[in-house]
């Protein structure tokens, strides 16, 4: 037990090495021996002070909420459309043939290329950002769900058939649990890619959100606030990833055996 605790501590120490080196060198080249103009690279202390100010005024929080809200809508929509379509395409050949070409054509178009159209169609604001991030999340969900539906083990299907399972029970008790881990992976990836694209979308198509905040402070040359925005995006992305991994193990305990392998 104490051995496990010690190895955990050691593990944690290793993880801290690089961030500490990075912050110390950043501090050295900005505070102790300033090499850059603060507009090019402000000191970590300045960033920290700006962070405090943005938190105190509630500005940072309102941008975070705006961005998270859009991500939530986009991912719920991506799941709502991507999962059924992915299942249909993975399980039924005609569906695959029908949609394959169209999806192959649209998938390589980066979500950002949709910005001009979406501004024309939906205007500047939440709707546009949700639409753009939805596209990013949708393809991630779709591709993973198709892969999951195809990976349903034919032996499981045979076992269920010979145990007397009908069509409906096959769907709910064999196909869905088989695909569930893939859908979850899909969700995790979708959350990640849509979070990355939300900033880009908000840079041009919104007047709130973390992306907008970064863009705004670039115009007024407040680099410290830009860095606060960037780090906030990174931390939230990291937390979302950790949370979804945790949730996966909690919802699908049988996956624990696989993560060890």
């Amino acid at each position: 037990m104490s051995n496990g605790l010690r190895s955990l501590t050691v593990d944690f120490a290793w993880r801290l090495v690089l961030p500490v080196i990075l912050i110390v060198s950043w501090y050295v080249v900005t505070e102790i021996n300033p090499l850059f103009h603060p507009v090019i690279l402000p000191s970590p202390l300045a960033v920290l002070r700006m962070f405090g100010k943005l938190v105190a005024s509630g500005e940072l929080w309102s941008h975070i909420v705006a961005s998270l809200e859009r991500i939530l809508y986009a991912n719920l929509a991506a799941l709502a459309f991507g999962v059924p379509l992915g299942l249909a395409m993975g399980l039924y050949r005609p569906f695959e043939r029908m949609f394959d070409g169209l999806i192959g054509l649209f998938r390589p178009i980066p979500p950002l290329a949709w910005v001009p159209l979406s501004i024309l169609w939906l205007g500047i604001g939440t709707l546009s950002v949700v639409f753009i991030t939805f596209l990013a999340a949708f393809f991630a969900v779709l591709i993973n769900t198709i892969a999951g539906a195809r990976a349903v083990d034919h032996l499981h299907v045979r076992a269920a058939l010979s145990l007397g399972a009908g069509r409906r029970r096959m769907m709910t008790h064999v196909v869905m649990p088989s695909v569930a881990p893939y859908i979850f992976t899909a969700f995790r990836i979708a959350l990640g890619v849509s979070w990355m694209s939300i900033v880009a979308a908000e840079l041009v198509a919104a007047s709130s959100g973390l992306g907008y905040m970064i863009m705004y402070y670039r115009e007024v040359l407040r680099t410290d606030a830009i860095i606060v925005g960037m780090l906030t995006i990174g931390v939230i992305g990291l937390l979302m990833d950790l949370a979804t991994r945790r949730l996966e193990l909690r919802l699908m305990p049988w996956r624990r055996g696989f993560s060890l392998a």
Binding site: H156, R158, A159, A165, G257
Partner: protein
Amino acid sequence: MTAPPKIAIASVSKRFDSARGESVTALDQVDLAIAAGEFVAIVGPSGCGKSTLLNIIAGFETASSGQVTLDGRPIAGPGPERGVVFQEYALFPWLTVAGNIAFGPASCRTTPAEVDRRVRECVALVKLDGFDDKYPHELSGGMRQRCALARCIANDPEVMLMDEPLAAIDALTRLDLQDELLRIWSEASRTRTRTVLYITHAIDEAIYLSDRVVVMSHRPGRIRREIRVPFSRPRDPEVRTHEAFHRLSDEIWQLLRRDP
């Protein structure tokens, strides 16, 4: 032998068409009758179509020609009266031991209380008490196959189709499980006659377990000979060392070896 057979296989052939347009004959004019309550083992080299035959009886595949009947009725697809035990266990990894065993009864409109009772019964039958809440990945190979057996029996099948169930188990555990399999079969046979078709490539296993060994030849799969096993039941593990056991094993070995 005037009673009608439980399973009747009448001139069954199976051809597979490969992607290049060639046709491979897996089974060629196979005839076999299995009586109710009989334990029949099929041995043959790999690729002799023995698993194909089992899959046709299970209803997973259809014969290219000929007919398989169960109690005189042609087989149309899989059904709960024919339980299947797979070499790869095919347990549902998202269900616990109890969940896996409950799958069959719950699929067949059994009341929850009855499902519970059957699960408890079958867990005890295969001696997995205390492992009800474990997931398959937490079990050893031998325990997984016990669970798969329990899952099959929980559905109260008349026929049990076993496709090399012990092939993936290590040698020592395998001997143990052969005895367990016989014990489980005979205990389960108290409430209902259970006909077993057992596929294996292990000659000793076929002799030790079965009433009759069917020897199949390689491509195209044909029945080469049917050999009645003369040993009484319950089988004594000692029988494996008997002179007669070795002679029988040798006879089958010669049959398989002469196979071109």
